[in-house]
């Protein structure tokens, strides 16, 4: 069958969503933007490529500093005791201070140290990278975008620029990654621009669990910023229902928590989603 050109031109004022991806921090990062014709004032495809390059450079620089998988990283030298925190770089100390603050706020459910005492900021670094990338995209003048780093999402604006259409995120079923459990609307003037999911479904037991921390296999948190969403999702997997209640009472967040038997707990925003 011969392909014919559409009788209606594509430039109907609704730019098409375009995505670019790159690999970093052991996962894949996707940047999605509505891309239109230059005359419509929308970013063009090469501008998406430029924005992706900025985000990728930022992720790579942070990975080089904070990755425990790289023997030559500053984090690895700290872990081996070759470097003290006092002598570490300013950004290393800033992230450590931020992680420590979260440990206090979550009453220990989130912690920057592994059980063996090694400093491990990986629970914070990806969220930090997403936050910094978002700041850079806004500084570049990009208002409408969706950044997804391995299942943690930060959005700005709308997939249809100028509209109130939200970026709708689907939440994966931990029992079957090919299906969704529900959706959640992000951005477009709503209260939450960030969504993070933690659990043991993908990377095994990479979350250090507290005593009661085998309750949830997957926890999704929506918040105004990605670090809060990411840290609290990790903390609730680790701390179970008490931490879920602390999070719901203390922060402006929406939470969806799934137990091993498939039963779910959800705050009102997820119940009326």
């Amino acid at each position: 069958m011969q392909r014919t050109s559409s009788p209606l031109p594509a430039q109907t004022g609704t730019p098409a969503l375009k995505a670019r991806t790159f690999e970093c921090m052991g996962t894949v990062i996707s940047l999605t933007m509505p891309v239109g014709m230059a005359a419509e004032g929308q970013p063009r495809l090469d501008e998406l490529a430029a924005a992706t390059a900025v985000v990728e450079r930022l992720f790579r620089e942070l990975d080089e500093t904070f990755s425990l998988y790289r023997p030559d990283s500053e984090a690895s030298r700290l872990a081996r005791g070759e470097l003290t925190l006092r002598a570490a770089s300013a950004q290393m100390r800033e992230r450590y201070a931020e992680a420590h603050e979260w440990r206090l706020r979550t009453e220990g459910a989130f912690t920057p140290e592994r059980p063996d005492g090694v400093l491990d900021l990986s629970g914070l670094v990806k969220g930090h990278a997403i936050r910094e990338a978002g700041t850079s995209l806004l500084a570049l003048g990009r208002r409408d975008w969706c950044l997804n780093a391995g299942g943690d999402v930060l959005v700005s604006g709308s997939p249809r620029p100028g509209s109130t259409e939200p970026w709708k995120a689907g939440i994966v079923d931990p029992a079957d990654r090919r299906t969704l459990i529900t959706g959640y609307a992000l951005g477009a003037g709503g209260q939450h621009a960030a969504l993070a999911t933690s659990g043991s479904a993908e990377r095994g037991e990479h979350i250090w669990r507290l005593g009661g921390g085998t309750e949830f296999v997957q926890v999704t948190v929506a918040a105004a910023d990605i670090v809060t969403a990411d840290v609290l999702a990790t903390a609730i997997v680790s701390g179970g229902t008490p931490m879920l209640n602390l999070a719901a009472d203390t922060w402006d967040v929406a939470v969806l928590a799934i137990r091993a038997d498939g039963s779910m707990l959800a705050t009102p925003a997820f119940r009326h989603a």
Binding site: I181, T182, P242, T267
Partner: protein, 178 residues
């Protein structure tokens, strides 16, 4: 007299309930220094002043209960002061500051018994009070699926490894947007 005492006691318990509602989560295993939330929780226990709006008999005696249980003020009395055990109506405590903004506990009394305790947020914008609670409750899969309509633009799940990405829903969405 009985009713005023009852109301004061009720507000004290309602205040404690609010404190529990806020501070009840402070029991998660690890013993580190608690932060701000405990402070707002305990202030709830002092919210005991009353401004009765029900049809209670307003005798001005003060109920001395547990915390600073001073009785309130303007009860708009309408019923006769015959029996103290038949008080009905809704009563509000004094506002306390929480992360939701100023919050007031409201109790509903029917025939002298508290039938309901709710936390109200006092919005400054329109003066209306709305019921608040962000607590998680059970969600059925069928309810959740109702929200899963079309238009999904991105996928959130536990961290996808580079290898797992290839077969993920996000990869399919990204491929559609290439």
């Amino acid at each position: 007299m009985k009713i005023r005492g009852l109301a004061a006691a009720a507000f004290a318990s309602a205040g404690i309930l609010l404190a529990g509602w806020q501070a009840g989560t402070q029991v998660s295993g690890i013993s580190t220094v608690a932060t701000g939330t405990t402070a707002t929780g305990t202030t709830g226990a002092t919210g005991t002043g009353a401004s009765g709006t029900g049809s209670s008999t307003a005798s001005g005696s003060s109920g001395t209960t547990g915390s600073s249980g001073t009785s309130g003020t303007t009860g708009s009395s309408s019923s006769s002061g015959s029996s103290g055990s038949t008080a009905s109506g809704t009563y509000k405590g004094t506002a306390v500051q929480t992360r939701f903004g100023p919050v007031q506990v409201q109790i509903t009394v029917a025939n002298g018994k508290i039938t309901d305790v709710t936390a109200l947020q006092l919005t400054n914008t329109d003066g209306k009070s709305i019921q608040i609670s962000n607590r998680a409750a059970p969600l059925l899969r069928s309810e959740a699926l109702a929200a899963q309509s079309a238009g999904i633009k991105t996928i959130s799940g536990a961290t996808v490894t580079s290898n797992a990405y290839l077969t993920s829903l996000q990869a399919a969405i990204d491929a559609a947007h290439l």
